[in-house]
């Protein structure tokens, strides 16, 4: 096996990185892939609770890097799926406990074991971000259709190009089609015009996201949830499938994709 290492990052905080890593991981695992998630947010770990695995943590990322346990021992298996694992972040350490080259070494070891390594990057463009992208084969930049999130995403896209980690693919999260329709939210087209990078996912605003994280059950398996469906579509696109974008945006993207505009 040679895993593909995919990092989700954003610049701005709170746009949905952790939510999407959990959901894309679940969707890939449900499609028979062997997946390991790494929480790259040392000191502010969250992926464990969103995935519902917080009670099973024994070792964490820093324990592996500092040689207190073997890689395997820090991989918590999610028993709800055949091959889904989480390497949690350390909560009582800071970002300097891990270096970019530690991440490269760790991911090289993981590459032999799984199909996908998904890394949840912290917000910002500092050490935690640099650690999270060091080993990435592909970077997904996440944004919301909102002015400061788009600006920060642009900054990150530029940095990724400079680090030769580009071209990044864009995920637009928390799109509210009703607000787009009445002209009070940037549309998918607007954001694509501004950022000029490839789109890999559009995820609608969906109350089920919060309900799912309350329960620690990622919703990518719930066919009734539009956000869950959108995350599953991202997983399929990562697997190389051509999946049409959902008809959420009412301002012309859909027509453009259908060639009517």
């Amino acid at each position: 096996m040679t895993a593909k290492v995919v990092t989700v990052t954003s610049g701005k905080g709170g746009v949905g990185k952790t939510t999407s890593v959990a959901n894309i991981a679940v969707a890939l695992a449900a499609r028979g892939q062997k997946v390991t998630c790494i929480d790259g947010d040392i000191g502010l770990r969250n992926l464990d609770v969103v995935m519902g695995l917080e009670n099973r943590i024994v070792y964490d990322l820093v324990d592996v890097v500092e040689g207190r346990c073997r890689l395997r021992q820090a991989m918590i298996r999610d028993k709800r799926l055949p091959e889904l694992y989480l390497i949690p972040a350390a909560q009582t350490r800071d970002k300097t406990a891990v270096s970019p080259s530690d991440m490269v070494r760790l991911c090289d070891e993981l590459r032999q074991e799984v199909d996908w390594v998904l890394i949840d990057s912290p917000a910002g463009i500092e050490r935690g971000f640099k650690n999270s992208i060091a080993a990435a084969d592909k970077v997904l930049v996440m944004t919301n259709p909102e002015i400061s999130a788009v600006r920060d995403a642009d900054r990150v896209v530029g940095l990724l190009d400079a680090e030769e980690k580009g071209p990044a693919s864009l995920v637009i999260n928390r799109l509210n089609p009703i607000m787009v329709k009445r002209g009070d939210m940037l549309s998918v087209e607007d954001v694509l015009d501004l950022l000029a990078i490839d789109l890999i996912g559009i995820v609608p605003e969906d109350e089920n996201v919060l309900v799912a994280s309350n329960k620690g059950q990622p919703l990518a398996l719930d066919p009734k949830s539009r956000a869950g469906h959108a995350f599953d579509n991202i997983a399929r696109r990562l697997l190389g499938e051509q999946v049409p974008f959902m008809d959420l945006d009412t301002s012309g993207l859909w027509q453009r994709l259908l060639g009517r505009k």
Binding site: I147, L186, A196
Partner: protein
């Protein structure tokens, strides 16, 4: 909202972002662009007579790349004094 009635807020967001992103990507703010324009006018005037009031300098977008586009009208020889 504008004095001419309701303006879509998404349009303002997009227009504002377009300008902000140019500055973020190029490190060029409107004041520096103005200064550059003055330097350019001075330099070019040393070689050829131009119409300073007609000079337009813009940052054009080409995907994620930006280009500095200068439009510099030359003063026609017929209109020159003497």
């Amino acid at each position: 909202m504008s004095i001419f009635g309701r303006r879509k807020s998404a349009n303002s967001a997009k227009e504002r972002l377009q300008l902000v992103l140019i500055h973020d990507r190029t490190d060029l703010n409107p004041a520096e662009l103005e200064a550059l324009k003055d330097d350019l006018i001075a330099t070019i005037s040393r070689h050829v007579e131009i119409e300073p009031s007609g000079v337009v300098i813009n940052v054009a977008q080409d995907g994620r790349a930006q280009r500095l586009v200068a439009d510099i009208p030359l003063r026609s020889t017929n209109r020159r004094r003497r």
